[in-house]
Each structure stands twice: as C-alpha cells, then as structure tokens.
Subunit: 379 residues, 2 copies
C-alpha cells in the first residue's frame, strides 16, 4: 500500500494516538493541523514561511482552483505542487462544500451537481467521476470524495438522504479513482450530522465498499462545526471516530479552534484544517496563551511586550504588541502577514506539543492543564 | 567624524564612484537603493526578506510616523530600529514633501508649516527645530532637513523663493541638531528645480553654513522627478552633483526607475529611494531584463517560464509567470508580496552590479550595454 499509517503511540486514557502517514511527497506526523491555501496560496504566507512554521501538509480548494486558473492549466504546470512551488504533501477537498453553499444556482441530482461559476456565471456540472478527474489533474497526495454536507438546521430526513447520496457518490468516486490509487489517497467522508445512528450508518456504507474497491487509506469526517454548539459535536465525535478503523487516519474537516483541536485529538482525530488562523490574522486577531487577542484594542498601544510571551515564533521573538497594533491600525499588509504567521505557528506548535504528550504518555495531563489555562476559552 | 564616506573607486570616464558610508547601525556600500518603509514597514515585505534581498538601508517617512503612531511612542519603544525590528541603517525624510502636497490645509510662513492631519483633522505646526525633534525621537541614522520642494510647474520666482526658505530652514535644523551630530547625520537638501543657477545658489548657501555648523555629512538632492521629463533632469543633475563636495554622499530623492539609477550613478549620485518597486509590485507589475511586465496580461496565462530568466532571486527561481499571474488575477496577497520582493531584489541587485562595474573599471561598458538592452526603456 502506497499510503502507510503507522501508529507509534496510543494514549491509555483516551483515543488519542500519535502516528505517521506516508504520502508520495513525504511523511506527515499526526495529529496535525493543515493550513488552508484556498487558491494555491496560504493567504499572506510564502512557502518559505510555511516551511519555517513547519507545516507538514497544506489543504487547497478544488472549487476555487477549478474555476480559476482551471485544473487543465494546473496539470499543464505539472500539478499543484509544481504550480505553487510547494514540495510537501497537499490535500484537496472535493469542492462540494463550496458548491452546496451556492444555493441560488445549485441543482442537485443523483448523478451530480450543476451550478453557476461565481467568477463568470458559466454553467458547470460535476459528477463523482468528473470531480475525481479534476482532483487527479490537481495531483494532491490526498483527495476527498464528492459528498453532500447538509447545513444546520436540517431535518433528520435531509441528513439521512445526504448520507445515502454521499455513499452513492463514493461508489462513483472509487470507480473513477481505481487507476490512481498508488499516486493519490482517496478519503471517503462520514456524514450524518449530529445523529449518531446516521453517522454509524454512513460508516457502515463506506466500509461495505471496501469489498469491491479495497482498503480506504483514511477517512474524512464532515458535517461538523457547521453552526452547532461545540459540545453537541463532542457528544458524537468520539463514538464516530471509535467506529472507524483505528489503523487509518481520521480527518475532522474544517475545524481549527485551538481547544477543539486539543480535545478532538483525545476523541480519536488525527488531522484538521481550517482557514481560522489566517482569516483571524488578517482581521487583526491573534491566538495566545492568554486567549484570543484583538490587536485593534487601545490597551496594546504602549504594550512593548511580545504578542505571546510563551511563544517562540519569529513574530513573538522580534516584535511588540505595540508595533503589531500600529500595523493593524494602519491596514499595513505586514500586520496581516505577521499575525497569520504567528497564528499558524501557534496551532502547528500546539499539535507538536500534543503529539509529544501522547508519545510521552501524558496526554491526559496535557489536556487537563490546557483546559485550566486562559487559552482554553478559544473554541 | 561619526559618519565616514570612503570612496574606494572612481570611474575615469564619468562621475560614477563606489564608496562606503559608515553609520551607527552599519556600513552602507554605495551606490545604493533604499527601499521605502513609509509607516515603519516596507509594504508586504518582512525584515527577514529585506535582509534576504540585502537591503543595506531603508527609508521611512516622518510625516506618516508623526501622525501615527507618533514620535513619542516610537521613542518609548526605543526608536524606529527597535520598533520595527530592523537593525541596519535607516534614513528618515523630514515629511515636508508630504505636507506640501496637502494644499487645502497648508499654511506656509518663514517660521514653519501649519497643516491638518489626514488621519483626524487635528492642526499641527512644524518649525525646523520641532521637525528635528521629531526625527531625533525616531532615531534614524540619516535624517533630512525640513525644506520646501516646489511642484512642477512653478515660476522661477517660486523656485528661487523655495531655495531661500530651504536655506533659512536649514539653519534652524542645524542649530537644533547640534547636540545630535554624533548619533544622526543631518543631510541638507539642494533645491532649485530645473534652473542650474538656482541649484548652484542652493549649494552655495548650504556650504556657507558649514563655517558655523561644521562639515555636512552628506547631501540630498530634492525637487527632481516631480513631473518633468527625465531628460530635463539629466541636463542639470551632473552639474549639480559635480558642484557638491565629492567626499560626501549625494542622495537623489524619490527616484527609483532602473534606467534612471544606472545613468544617475554616472552623474555622481550615490543613493536613491523610491516606492516604485513595491507600489508597482502591488499593482501586478514586475521589473525585468525584458522591460516592465504586467502580469495581468493574458499572454502569461500558460507561460511556465520564470518571471525574469536573468534574475536569480527566490521568486524567479521558484515560481512561473503563470502562477504569478494567477495570484495577481485572484487578488491574492502573495502576488503583491512576491512581485514586491522581486522588484526590490532587481533594483538592489542592479545597484550591486553597477558598483562592481565601477570597482572593476567598466562602468562605461556597463552603461552602454544597459542602454542597448530591452530593460533600458524603464524610466
């Protein structure tokens, strides 16, 4: 198998595990956070800086790349890695999540999705097979199935129907992906909203397909963090992760709050992604050991201490809150750049510390001291 | 003398010279280009990147810093170097140039300038002494006198009056600066527009003040490149530079086109500054050995060659025109960042190559081959 997941430590008091996942562009150490590079760039951050903060894998969005510059152009460039000058692993989503948010022009059938481009209004139709074709052209190491992620609130029937359609589409994806299995790992996605029985049904249908298509290299868990309170997610998440095979990675899609990450690892999650660190950075907000800081606040005007005294990133070593506030207040690009950099470092470093704690058998301790810290309010 | 200018090579066929200029924060090799960091940041570029492109000195704008965050706050932070985390030399302008552009609220007297803040409308009054006080608080290695830069077109009388007022203000600046001479170099500014006799009068009045105040460490040449055709500037510029002492640096203010730099060095100019490389970078335009490139142009969509095949900066080594065009078209910050980086590298590297040519006795050759190249149209 081209994609190998090796669990190197299992926490005794929780479902937390430390592992490695091998891909054609390198080995990822999990648990890990994936910075999001929507349009083949993590906003405001160079690839050198991504290596500095030691991002092991990044995520890019199929929907945006498909519309502009187009999957064909990226294939012509030699794939997404060559196009964006990033030689470490990449994961692409299917783009389904973005298409489902285009309510005005969306038409959903059992065969696929039709929608209008936000760039130029042109009509498009995606089937599971054509979506795979796009993701094959992009050439990410990990690709995601086309699925239906129902919004919250949805009725139980709507959620059940999304589970059924997602499983049906998975079959189409697996079929189209068969010749590419050695080069790209296709992750099925568990749906089912906040209803445990539907989540378990989704897993069952995904696992049934292994008989025809072979072992799935990993699993996405979608449809969480779409508006529900986080405690509602935490009720079912550990049971969902426990029902999945433990010898493959579990990727909780679209979640990036520090405390959610720390807790979800204990519930059996290995991978995360979110635009939060860069989006909040551009808005002038920073993660910190003291909780979230809004640099626009006047109390930082004469504060010549580091952004986060407990952080050792280059922003916290080189700059003061006063200077960062000046940049943010002046709408200087460097404000967005430095805060995005710090926020990425903060989450990536947090995951490194969680991993270390798991390996050293003290994840429980780590979680407890995290939850007692001022940073814990950051969901 | 704290500020030492050592000419290490003099071109035989022109006024071009290679030199070093020693400041409290390090030695600058001239001729050199100074990137502009208006609000204590070179737009879109980190200080690490400024060191990567080997900027030896940067310029920052007193007017903007005075309004926000204020000179007192920067003094409290330990000065501009500490505030912005840049440990190499800095030059600040006086801010007079910006104030003179605020025509609606400007009131000019022999004592100074009154104006309203563009940030909050508050009233301000600058005298030569108070302007020096601001620049002392900022703490740059090189500071500029408060002067009057008349716009083009101006009558001969207006230009003559600006020469007189600038010389009068220089006296006030020199007086106020006396106790700071060892820590900061104050450069007088030559005015006189495109009239050679007024330029020479300006120089005479500046030099007369040396009797009372001692040797000037260097000279600014202002009032060029304010709208006149570049050939008009080139008529008087060599005579102006020749009339100044040759054992001190000559700084041509606000000029940054590649070809102007290459030619002006031969006319005796040692230092330049301009927002051009970062401003054009943010607009999606790049300097190159093929001339200026507008990355929005459709012809770059499938162009997988480097931005400038003759450039060895990290942008040209790592990225294609196709990718850069994608970033620019998508309004991604990384487009502005990478093009600004390349443009700065291009000018700084150009100055390094010019300096090398002077030292190796082949500036004339260099100029000739530059003027015959497709890059030469870039004024």
């Amino acid at each position: 198998m081209a994609f190998e997941f090796n669990v190197i430590a299992q926490d005794s008091g929780s479902q937390a595990k430390a592992a490695t996942f091998t891909t054609p562009h390198g080995t990822i150490e999990t648990p890990c956070f994936m910075p999001v590079g929507t349009r083949a760039t993590v906003k405001g951050i160079t690839v050198d800086e991504l290596e500095e903060v030691d991002a092991q894998i990044i995520l890019s969005n199929t929907y945006h790349l498909y519309l502009r510059p187009g999957a064909e152009l990226i294939a012509e460039a030699g794939g997404l890695h060559a196009f964006m000058n990033w030689n470490r692993p990449i994961l692409t989503d299917s783009g389904g999540f973005q298409v489902f948010s285009l309510k005005d022009t969306l038409k959903l059938t059992r065969e696929g999705l039709s929608f209008a481009s936000i760039v130029d209004g042109t009509k498009h139709f995606w089937t599971p097979a054509s979506n795979m074709d796009i993701q094959h052209k992009l050439g990410a190491d990990i690709i995601m199935q086309l699925d239906q992620c129902p919004p919250i609130p949805s009725t139980r029937d709507e959620v059940a129907s999304a589970v059924g359609l997602s499983a049906h589409w998975l079959e189409g994806c697996l079929q189209a992906h068969e010749p590419h299995r050695e080069r790209q790992a296709l992750f099925p996605i568990v749906q089912g909203g906040i209803e445990l029985d539907l989540r378990l049904e989704s897993i069952e249908r995904i696992m049934q397909l292994e008989e025809r298509f072979g072992t799935h290299p990993g699993f996405g868990i979608g449809g969480y963090s779409v508006g529900e309170p986080h405690e509602v997610m935490f009720e079912t998440l550990p049971k969902v992760a426990a029902a999945l095979p433990q010898d493959r990675p579990h990727y909780l899609m679209g979640v990036g709050n520090p405390t959610t990450l720390v807790r979800a690892v204990g519930m059996g999650i290995d991978m995360f992604d979110c635009v939060l660190p860069t989006r909040t950075g551009r808005m002038g907000t920073a993660f910190s050991s003291e909780g979230r800081l809004n640099l626009r606040n006047a109390r930082f005007a004469h504060d010549f201490t580091p952004l986060d005294p407990e952080c050792d990133c280059k922003v916290c070593r080189g700059y003061t809150r006063s200077y960062l506030r000046h940049l943010v207040k002046s709408d200087e690009m460097l404000g967005a750049i430095l805060l995005s950099y710090h926020n990425l470092y903060y989450l990536l470093n947090l995951m490194r510390k969680v991993r270390e704690a798991i390996i050293e058998g003290r994840y429980g301790e780590f979680l407890e001291s995290w939850m007692a810290s001022p940073a814990a309010d950051d969901y």
